[in-house]
């Protein structure tokens, strides 16, 4: 069934899932597509808000120039760093081959 152009498509859902490295099944593509469409419709009011006169707020912060001095501090031991590693070899984290 062709999908309306303005609506989120299954292809887009697959693309987004891939960008987010989320494995999803074919059924889930449909389910997420429908749910995301529903959510996007529900929050459509966002697009209608008149924001022509205001800047964006990325931070609610009043702070500026928060910096630390360049001093080295004790860190973790390699053992502590690797304590939770699902796969390791010696003092390294180990991962699967990288080729895609």
């Amino acid at each position: 069934m062709p999908e309306p152009e303005s609506e989120l498509s299954s292809r887009e859902v697959e693309h987004v899932a891939r960008l987010a490295r989320l494995g999803i099944t074919e059924d889930e593509v449909i389910r997420y597509r429908d749910q995301l469409r529903h959510i996007l419709t529900a929050i459509d009011a966002l697009k209608r808000a008149d924001t022509s006169t205001v800047p964006a707020t990325a931070h609610p912060l009043e702070e500026r120039n928060v910096m630390r001095d360049d001093r080295s501090e004790p860190c973790l031991t390699a053992e502590e760093a690797l304590k939770n590693a699902p796969s390791r070899e010696d003092s390294y984290f180990k991962v699967k081959a990288i080729q895609e």
Partner: protein, 483 residues
């Protein structure tokens, strides 16, 4: 070559330079990752553990602004960090804290020269980000079953210096990077080590028919870790791309890795799946207001830069533009030169030695001048021996090599002096007599108690003997005769 007249080469460079700091960009872990055991220089922040938060290293920010000023950049008053989102196992958080639309600087330029001719490349921006961890593969990346990760490098402050696509040949690209590296070293923000990856260079290479304004399809070349590699890789790409175009083919936008052993570039990633970095402002870091006063403070501490030093060497010492350029391409080398001259060596001779045999030996050994056992004081003495005719040019070359190869150059230098030294009193007496006869005033001064005058008389004796007199014997005989 016909091909080079049909196409114009367009190169832009992205240089990543680690900032010399004690601690990492956003945490207190030490940056001495090259010597630390694997994963021992890590903490919750640079491992990207849940709940950890970054805090900006002030020194890294100042080093970036310092670099930007040295590259004649504008420093905007407002800046911020952003997240660049992508997945890779050497990137602990799944995003790199970098700068997107409001970097610390933009619109600069870098002057350099190619075979003594002045060139200028625009600097698009200098921004600050964090380095990634390091992956190690068993064998080639394409065949490896698994990779090992060391996060010691993750979070080391990293500047990205992006040039405009203003470079028109491999020569220009190489000279640009050499000059850039010299500047980074001069201002003390990077150690210039390309082999260990503390300075890294990627090149965007494209061709366009001569006269065309639009750019051709660009290819990003990575993994060049020496000046020579930069030059070879770009030359290779120019030939490869020309051949594709000449054969009526189309180039694809892609990333290619330089394989130094095989002397060619290999496709790493075609943009079949386009990355979308989804930049957005880093919510864990408040923005920065870069006051003009802060910029002025940083600017006031900038030392003399290579271009200025080059001009000064030409003006003060009469060096050729070429020699002056090469000497100032490395801060230690320029300093070595000036020290040798300060000790009394003629500038031209000092430059010739440093740029000649000395550089040849250093290059062959992959060594830097500051690490050589021959120090300016030794080189100056060697030059003095030649100038005073004590040793011949041929012998000087042998002496220099012997000095260079030895852990301590003194014995070789002394041997050269001694090889023709006059220690016999019979011959020395004649010299002493002549000195006394020709310098009545100084003799009188010395008799009146002026020790200084004896120094002068010794000097005259050395001159008469063309430096060959044994100074101790000479002094003893002078004292004896005058008394």
């Amino acid at each position: 070559m016909a091909i080079t007249t049909r196409y114009e080469v367009v190169v832009g460079l992205e240089v990543h330079a680690q900032v010399l700091t004690q601690s990492k960009m956003f945490c207190g872990c030490s940056t001495d990752y090259l010597v630390a055991p694997p994963n021992a220089n890590t903490c919750p922040v640079c491992l990207g553990l849940p709940g950890s938060l970054p805090v900006i290293n002030r020194r890294a920010v100042e080093a970036t602004i310092r670099t930007a000023l040295a590259l004649n950049c504008e420093i905007p008053e407002f800046s911020k960090f952003d997240r660049k989102n992508y997945f890779y196992p050497d990137l602990p958080k799944g995003y790199q804290i970098s700068q997107y639309d409001l970097p610390f600087s933009r619109h600069g330029h870098l002057d350099f020269d190619v075979n003594g001719e002045a060139r200028r490349a625009g600097i698009t921006r200098v921004h600050l980000e964090e380095d990634t961890g390091k992956l190690q593969h068993e064998g080639a990346i394409e065949q490896a079953q698994s990779s090992l990760i060391n996060f010691n490098r993750a979070g080391v402050p990293l500047m990205e210096i992006v040039s405009e696509p203003d470079l028109r040949s491999a020569d220009e690209a190489r000279e640009y990077v050499m000059r850039l590296r010299a500047i980074l070293q001069y201002i003390g923000v990077n150690n210039g080590d390309m082999e260990s990856g503390q300075l890294r260079c990627d090149a965007n290479v494209s061709l366009r028919p001569v006269g065309r304004i639009e750019f051709g399809t660009k290819v990003e070349v990575k993994n060049m870790n020496s000046f020579r590699a930069i030059h070879r890789a770009i030359e290779y790409e120019i030939v490869r791309q020309t051949e594709v175009l000449e054969a009526g083919g189309r180039l694809v936008q892609e990333t290619r890795g330089w394989n130094d052993a095989r002397g060619l570039t290999v496709s790493q990633r075609t943009k079949e799946f386009a990355e979308d970095y989804r930049y957005f402002p880093e919510p864990d870091l408040p923005p920065l207001e870069v006051s003009r006063q802060w910029v002025a403070e940083i600017g006031s501490s900038l030392p003399e830069l290579p271009a200025a030093r080059r001009d000064r060497l030409i003006a003060n010492f009469g060096l050729s533009p070429y020699d002056a350029s090469v000497l100032t391409s490395s801060k230690p080398m320029a300093e070595y030169f000036e020290e040798t001259v300060r000790l009394g060596a003629p500038a031209k001779a000092a430059a010739n030695w440093i740029l000649g045999d000395f550089s040849r030996f250093l290059n062959a050994d992959h060594k830097e001048i500051q690490d050589a056992s021959v120090k300016p004081v030794h080189l100056q003495q060697l030059i003095a021996l030649i100038d005073s005719g004590v040793i011949s040019g041929k012998m000087a070359k042998q002496t220099f090599e012997a000095m260079y190869r030895a852990p301590d150059p003194e014995p070789a230098l002394t041997a050269a002096k001694g090889s023709s030294q006059i220690s016999g009193d019979a011959e020395l007496t004649g010299i002493v007599d002549q000195v006394i006869a020709e310098n009545e005033k100084s003799v009188a001064d010395f008799k009146a108690g002026k020790e200084q005058a004896l120094k002068f008389l010794i000097g005259q004796g050395m001159k008469l003997s063309k430096g060959r007199a044994n100074p101790q014997r000479l002094e003893a005989l002078l004292r004896e005769k005058i008394a």
